[in-house]
């Protein structure tokens, strides 16, 4: 672990890199790291990126009620979105419903939200789940809230782009329809990833370390971006940037 930045800051900078060149990214409720990444990306590109944070009163551009995000996505006006999952499998299927034989789930999650829709309509869906364990990253999800891949005839304009966890970044290969290990976060190893991942994936001969955020990025993040984040996620902003700025 590099002492110059927090693990969350690495994740934020890593996700922000994935938003390069986009016009509009939307972020769901309760997504502090993706939300901060989107704000960082916007700050880095001089405001050219539009960021719509659901539930935020200053960053939501919507005026047509709960349906507008979904309509907007289907119109092709949202380039990137974030999804998580109580379980995620090797075909990028996500389960937001529960563990066990539905409807008699042993463990119940909150529910599918808009995943069964947005996964089809937003070109770049970034799967984000900090917990990287074999409990979460499973061979096959117990319930497919939203499928990672579809048949050729299915109307599908989007899907999984990458999976970012607390240990690594997986790329999703649309052709092979499986994940490929792209980089391992500082302090973690390829073997450790293998041990804690329940699904099968590809590993290149050389797996680089996830690039550390540079000084300019960290300065931006801990300055203007931290202030913007504090509006939506005061607890998160205090915890991360309070600590980082004190360090």
């Amino acid at each position: 672990m590099n002492a110059d930045f927090l693990p969350e800051e690495l994740l934020i900078a890593t996700v922000a890199d994935m938003l390069a060149g986009l016009r509009h990214v939307a972020v769901g409720a309760q997504s502090p790291i993706p939300g901060t990444a989107a704000l960082l990306a916007r700050a880095r590109w001089g405001g050219a990126l539009r960021v719509s944070m659901l539930g935020s009163e200053t960053n939501s551009p919507f005026t047509d009620g709960g349906r507008e995000l979904f309509d907007c996505a289907s119109q092709g006006r949202i380039d990137a979105f974030f999804l998580g999952g109580g379980q995620i499998d090797g075909q990028a299927n996500i389960n937001l419903v529960g563990i066990g034989d539905y409807p008699d789930t042993k463990v119940r999650f909150p529910g599918s939200f808009g995943s069964a829709y947005l996964y089809f309509l937003v070109p770049r869906v970034i799967l984000f789940r900090e917990e990287h364990t074999a409990r979460v990253l499973v061979p096959k999800v117990d319930f497919i809230s939203a499928p990672g891949v579809s048949e050729e005839s299915t109307y599908r304009k989007g899907g999984p782009h990458a999976l970012v966890t607390g240990r690594c970044v997986f790329d999703f290969d649309d052709t092979a329809k499986r994940f490929c290990l792209q980089s391992v976060h500082p302090g973690h190893t390829v073997d450790e990833i293998r041990e804690h991942t329940g699904f099968d994936y590809d590993t290149p001969d050389h797996v680089p370390e996830t690039p550390a955020p540079d000084a300019d990025t960290l300065a931006l993040l801990r300055g203007d971006v931290a202030d913007a984040v504090a509006e939506r996620y005061p607890g998160f902003a205090a915890k991360i940037f309070g600590a980082a700025n004190a360090a």
């Binding site: 409720a29 069964a116 829709y117 809230s145 579809s150």
Partner: protein, 277 residues
């Protein structure tokens, strides 16, 4: 038309056992005052529709045994974590779940708003949600421009929409600003019951700025003034949730006994549901 103004207890009395009841998420307009009155009157067998998800309102009604069926895209208390009485009811097998996804709920309500029997919805194909819904099916584009299947969802027509808003007037007009999921709910439902923090002294439709965020009284059956009526949940643009109270709720609601003690204190005690005023 001033007889549209009534009490919270009357609103609760107007929601019959077994009603299909549409509720908004915690970030929108939750009439917690009426939820408490509903629990106090012992409503049973509700079919709750979360538009598109439901939070504390759902957890409390479920915990109090008021809900037979829950149709929603999620049960979420947002930063407060899992919903304890919902989770317990699922484990006990006492709740009939109709799991959906946000846009399908909006589209089902829009079908009801338009009086049409169904509406096509993008996505969903290949989701296990589809396997468990007899009110969703797949069809094809009748104009033949697409080969693949498209999901069609049946109209969702709630008997009652129950919401809380910052302002309502004596004509039954209700100001909801940009939180237009409540407008859709009102259009789609047979009846709409409303509590408001404040009774606006005038006609909300007569002010061109307010009118654009107003549900016309045409759709509204009754309005009750309930100052701080979303408490302990927040109200968009007005006040946040009562964090200490909600954390206390969550702590107590981990057990059936604790939840019962919460209801005793905040619902069943005389005038308990007016505690926030």
């Amino acid at each position: 038309m001033s007889d549209i103004l009534t009490t919270v207890e009357d609103l609760a009395a107007r929601i019959p056992d077994g009603a299909k009841l549409a509720l908004a998420p915690d970030y929108s307009g939750c009439s917690m005052a009426t939820i408490r009155a509903l629990i106090a009157r012992g409503v049973r067998g509700l079919h709750v529709v979360g538009v598109p998800s439901v939070g504390f309102q759902g957890d409390m009604l479920i915990g109090a045994g008021c809900v037979a069926t829950l149709e929603t895209a999620a049960v979420t208390l947002e930063e407060y974590g899992p919903a304890p009485r919902f989770t317990a009811a699922i484990k006990a097998g006492t709740l009939h779940m109709i799991d959906g996804t946000c846009p399908a709920i909006h589209s089902g309500l829009q079908a009801a708003e338009k009086g049409i029997p169904f509406m096509p919805v993008r996505g969903i194909v290949g989701s296990d949600l589809l396997k468990h819904r007899d009110d969703w099916t797949t069809g094809t584009d009748p104009f033949g421009e697409e080969d693949g299947p498209i999901v069609m969802v049946k109209a969702i027509r709630p008997d009652v929409t129950l919401i809380h808003a910052p302002l309502a007037d004596r004509h039954g007009n209700v100001w909801i600003g940009v939180r237009r999921e409540m407008m859709l709910m009102a259009h789609a439902s047979r009846e709409t019951l409303v509590t408001a923090d404040e009774i606006y002294d005038g006609d909300l439709l007569a002010d061109e700025k307010l009118a654009s965020g107003t549900i016309p009284g045409l759709y509204v059956s009754a309005v009750a003034e309930a100052r701080n009526g979303a408490w302990p949940v927040g109200l968009f643009g007005r006040y946040g949730g009562d964090e200490a109270h909600l954390r206390d709720y969550l702590e107590r609601a981990r057990t059936e006994e604790g939840f019962a003690s919460y209801l005793d204190e905040f619902v069943h005690a005389p005038h308990a549901h007016k505690a926030a005023e």
